[in-house]
């Protein structure tokens, strides 16, 4: 910490109080302006203050999969849950990871909590459906456009669809491809390949257009108009299409191949996520490529054998099945033979990540991890508002008590402390508001508590400084040197103790979850701001005030009255070099005033 200074005066802001004050003033103005510019003048409130439902999910570690709980899987799960919750039409629901293995889902008031809770927790929304038709995601333009070269589509991030190797039907013009797929089963389709195949059968299967069964045709006919109009590049339409689908009905679905959206007509679900016993992405040593292996349960193996048997006889794209996760196609491998025995393998142009991702999604049904509900909190807006009110009233009273105490004890000096507290308050408030916008910081009850407790911490640092100044005055110094000499020592104490506070807040923030984090965050923030305010505001203001007659003369109401403080007569000698609280002489007569 601050070493004892050698010179007569410490270096620092003390010579230029104006500059420090200008800096903090600019900061305050900038933060306030930023707040108004962002059109957000109140902090975002947490569920416990605003009302709503908060669900905490904890990832369960599965035996034999110690590494399953990792950042990638957690983020994937957050993405899936977010899609589900927002698919319910919930606005502004927020889903975040917290700590290593928790996911917090906050659902604001006025939504169907019951339904949301069901959706959040459930896992198996994964189905294997036969593909009836597929085309690019946007509605077919009137002019038939060549759909590019799908085989060059990168196997994209997050969508581990093996589509790069599955160009399927889209080599024909889009609009026609659909209608051909649906209505004209025998029309040839110059689809280049379906090189993604099962059971190591990776040879290209040149395909002609598929033959649809009459049942498929009927379903397809009903869906065709909707299919043509569907625009998968539109988020609202994507959400709508995957809503309320029954597994046994044919359906439309969207999905990504590489970076492009595609849309599918899909038959009834044949196999669901529960039928998959295990799946993982792994490298095929012989071929040196990434594949996804699947293992089915006994029941699942039968179903899978049946569907692959049916599909293998068909032509592209109807020899494909789509793996549909929450209504979205995540992969659509083609099948060239019936797969019995309960094991299967999907190959294609996977990279490590896409293979792993698909393997995870398959093995956990939908989420890459399984979760349990750890806590569910539902707060009505009325109670939330009441608690906020209670917190604010408590804060106001606490602040008032501190102000009264400071005024009574420090008199004029207290105004410095009070204005510093106000500065600190403005900074805290604006930063909280901006953080709500920026990083989604939400003020919850513990955070309010943290802010109130911080009043004490902030006031503490003023007391440390004031007491130091008063000690210097007791030594017989006049105010100006006292203010400067007290500062380096007070600064050291303030820094050390604030560091300890900040350390506690930081450790709390890092290792804990949920409510505790909100508290730790506020405490850490206010501790930092305390340092800023004391350095850039309180100290410079004291320097300036030391020049005023009211304080410098030790007016009885200034809180710095030398007589009242029991100051010694002026020093006989100036200080010696190098050490701390220096009273140069020993045999100083005791000041008898009121002793």
């Amino acid at each position: 910490m601050a070493a004892p200074k050698k010179g007569r005066r410490p270096t620092g802001a003390q010579g230029r109080p104006g500059r420090s004050l200008a800096i903090i003033l600019i900061a305050m103005v900038a933060l306030t302006a930023g707040m108004f510019l962002s059109k957000q003048t109140t902090p975002r409130l947490g569920i416990d203050l605003a009302g709503g439902t908060s669900i905490t999910l904890k990832a369960k570690s599965e035996p034999g999969k110690p590494d399953a709980i990792n950042e990638t899987n957690m983020n994937t799960a957050v993405g899936i849950i977010e899609r589900r919750v927002n698919g319910l039409g919930v606005s502004e629901a927020e889903v975040q990871t917290q700590g290593r293995d928790h996911i917090i889902v906050n659902i604001p008031k006025g939504t169907n909590e019951q339904q949301a809770r069901e959706q959040v927790g459930t896992t198996a929304q994964l189905y294997f459906r036969p593909v009836l038709a597929v085309t690019e995601g946007a509605p077919a333009p009137p002019e038939a456009s060549q759909s590019g070269s799908p085989s060059a589509a990168p196997s994209g991030s997050g969508s581990p669809s093996a589509s790069a190797a599955t160009p399927s039907s889209s080599a024909t013009s889009q609009g026609r491809a659909v209608s051909e797929a649906l209505k004209a089963p025998n029309a040839p389709s110059p689809s280049p390949s379906a090189s993604e195949s099962k059971k190591a059968d990776d040879k290209a299967t040149p395909s002609t257009s598929p033959s649809a069964t009459s049942a498929d045709q009927a379903a397809a006919a009903a869906l065709q108009a909707k299919f043509a109009a569907l625009d998968c590049t539109d988020e609202a339409q994507r959400a709508a299409v995957s809503k309320n689908i029954k597994p046994e009905d044919p359906t439309l679905a969207c999905g990504k191949r590489g970076d492009a959206w595609y849309k599918w007509v899909l038959g009834p679900a044949q196999v669901d996520g529960k039928d998959v016993k295990d799946a993982k992405g792994q490298i095929d040593q012989q071929r040196g490529i990434w594949i996804v292996t699947m293992q089915f349960t006994d029941k699942g193996a039968d179903k899978f054998a049946k569907i692959t048997g049916e599909l293998a006889a068909k032509q592209s794209p109807q020899n494909q099945f789509a793996i549909v996760l929450d209504g979205q196609v995540i992969s659509d491998p083609s099948v060239s033979q019936a797969l019995t025995g309960g094991n299967a393998e999907i190959s294609g142009s996977f990279d490590q990540k896409s293979a792993m991702d698909l393997g995870n999604m398959l093995s956990y049904g939908a989420l890459p991890l399984s979760f349990q509900e750890d806590s569910v909190t539902t707060v009505t807006a009325a109670l939330g508002g009441e608690q906020l009110k209670a917190g604010l009233i408590a804060g106001a009273i606490g602040l008032a008590l501190v102000v009264i105490y400071l005024l009574a004890y420090y008199r004029g000096l207290a105004f410095v402390a009070i204005i510093s507290l106000i500065v600190s308050g403005i900074l805290t408030y604006t930063i909280m508001v901006l953080l709500g916008k920026g990083i989604g910081f939400a003020l919850n009850l513990p955070a309010v508590c943290g802010a109130i407790v911080a009043i004490g911490i902030t006031a503490d640092s003023f007391i440390v400084y004031f007491e130091r100044i008063r000690d210097e005055i007791r030594e017989g110094r006049t105010l100006r040197p006292a203010v400067e000499r007290a500062w380096p020592r007070a600064r050291r104490t303030i820094l050390v103790s604030d560091f300890v506070s900040f350390l506690a807040a930081a450790v709390l923030f890092i290792v804990t979850v949920g409510k505790v984090q909100g508290f730790a965050f506020t405490l850490g923030l206010t501790t930092l701001l305390d340092v800023v305010v004391v350095f850039l505001f309180t100290k410079p203001v004291m320097t300036l005030l030391a020049r005023t007659n009211f304080f410098a003369s030790g007016h009885p109401w200034s809180g710095l009255d030398p007589k009242r403080l029991g100051a010694k007569p002026p020093l006989r000698r100036s200080r010696r070099t190098g050490s701390g609280a220096s009273a140069a002489t020993v045999s100083v007569p005791v000041d008898a005033k009121e002793a």
Binding site: D374, L401, Y409, A505, G580
Partner: protein, 350 residues
């Protein structure tokens, strides 16, 4: 208040002072007694863990005319588990049902709404799985451990290892007292309590650091004089920073007290109450321990050092010879007294 100001001046000059260090064994005794009481209380009556740690549900209803007795029967019938019902200041009820899992809780909530004739949407529900509290508790322990290690390292660097050790002991002492109070009084332990407890970490040390800082400064160059022993210097430091300690503690306790009595007492905001209660107890314990325990411990550790032993010997020898010459021991060695310790007289004087 000017009385206190005068006291501050006298304490500063060492005209008045309490011999904290000299009477340390009395306070060690007091602390050991409190600690034993706390441990026994925890061992015998245990802590009243809230549903957050056992798993269960807390429902808060809006104003209802149903009696507590009736509500309890309804709740127990609906859930099949024990229920605790309290009347709230708002006229509503707080119904706590233990060991209710989160899945079943939704049904119970619906049944309660019918029984109590309130709108289900108006009922607050706090449902907690049994492992959640374990999570919080585990993380709290981890946090505690990590923090202690870091802070000991930091204090050892910023001050010295003896102070770090003493601060750590004082900290453990504060936590023990706080936990003991909870066990004795039977306050419910909730995540709010844990938050409060963990905050005491920072706060208790804040106070200790302020005192140590004064001690570090006061004992600089101590070996270059023969007027005071380390324990005397330490005692003067405590007295010198006493006003500061009292003021910082009062100022810290005021907002927390407001939280406790306003937030909790009047408006029944559970979380506010829980946090502020443990903070209040912990802060008070922290202020006590930094003065009565932490600094005397530093003295005990420090006076084992050969340099300090030698100093003590020199000081005593000097005093003895001064006495032999018929001088006041107070004046002995004055010509060598470094300015650091020359702010006044020994705290022993009064």
């Amino acid at each position: 208040m000017s009385k206190l100001g005068d006291l501050g001046a006298k304490l500063y000059r060492g005209e008045v002072g309490y011999d904290f260090v000299g009477k340390r064994f009395v306070w060690y005794g007091v602390s050991i007694l409190i600690t034993i009481t706390a441990i026994v209380a925890v061992a015998v009556s245990g802590l009243n863990m809230g549903i957050e740690f056992k798993g269960g549900a807390v429902f808060t209803t809006p104003k209802t005319s149903v009696t507590e007795q009736q509500a309890r029967e309804d709740a127990e019938k609906a859930s099949g588990h024990d229920a605790i019902v309290q009347k709230l200041g708002t006229g509503g009820l707080r119904i706590q049902i233990s060991e209710l899992d989160t899945a079943a809780a939704a049904d119970v909530k619906a049944k309660l709404a019918t029984d109590l004739k309130v709108d289900a949407a108006e009922i607050n529900a706090d449902l907690v799985g049994p492992s959640w509290g374990e999570q919080i508790a585990n993380k709290a322990w981890t946090g505690l451990g990590v923090f202690m290690v870091l802070v000991v390292i930091y204090l050892a660097i910023a001050f010295e290892w003896r102070m770090a050790v003493a601060a750590l002991i004082a900290l453990i002492h504060d936590l023990t007292i706080t936990v003991g109070v909870y066990a004795l009084v039977g306050f419910e332990v909730t995540p709010g309590t844990v938050i409060g407890l963990l905050t005491i970490l920072g706060y208790s040390l804040y106070d200790t650091v302020v005192v140590f800082d004064g001690l570090k400064e006061g004992s600089k160059d101590i070996t270059k004089q023969t007027r005071y022993t380390y324990s005397e210097v330490a005692n003067r430091s405590i007295n010198g920073t006493l006003v500061r300690s009292i003021n910082t503690t009062v100022v810290a306790l005021l907002p927390v007290g407001a939280l406790l009595f306003i937030g909790g007492g009047l408006l029944d905001a559970g979380m506010l109450n829980d946090i502020s209660l443990s903070l209040f107890v912990g802060l008070a314990a922290g202020a006590y321990s930094s003065i009565f325990i932490a600094t005397p411990l530093v003295v005990d550790l420090k006076e084992r050092e050969p340099a300090m032993k030698a100093l003590k010997k020199r000081v005593l020898a000097k005093r003895a010879s001064a006495e032999a010459r018929g001088e006041s021991p107070e004046d002995a060695g004055s010509e060598e007294a470094p300015e650091v310790v020359a702010q006044g007289r020994s705290g022993r004087r009064r």
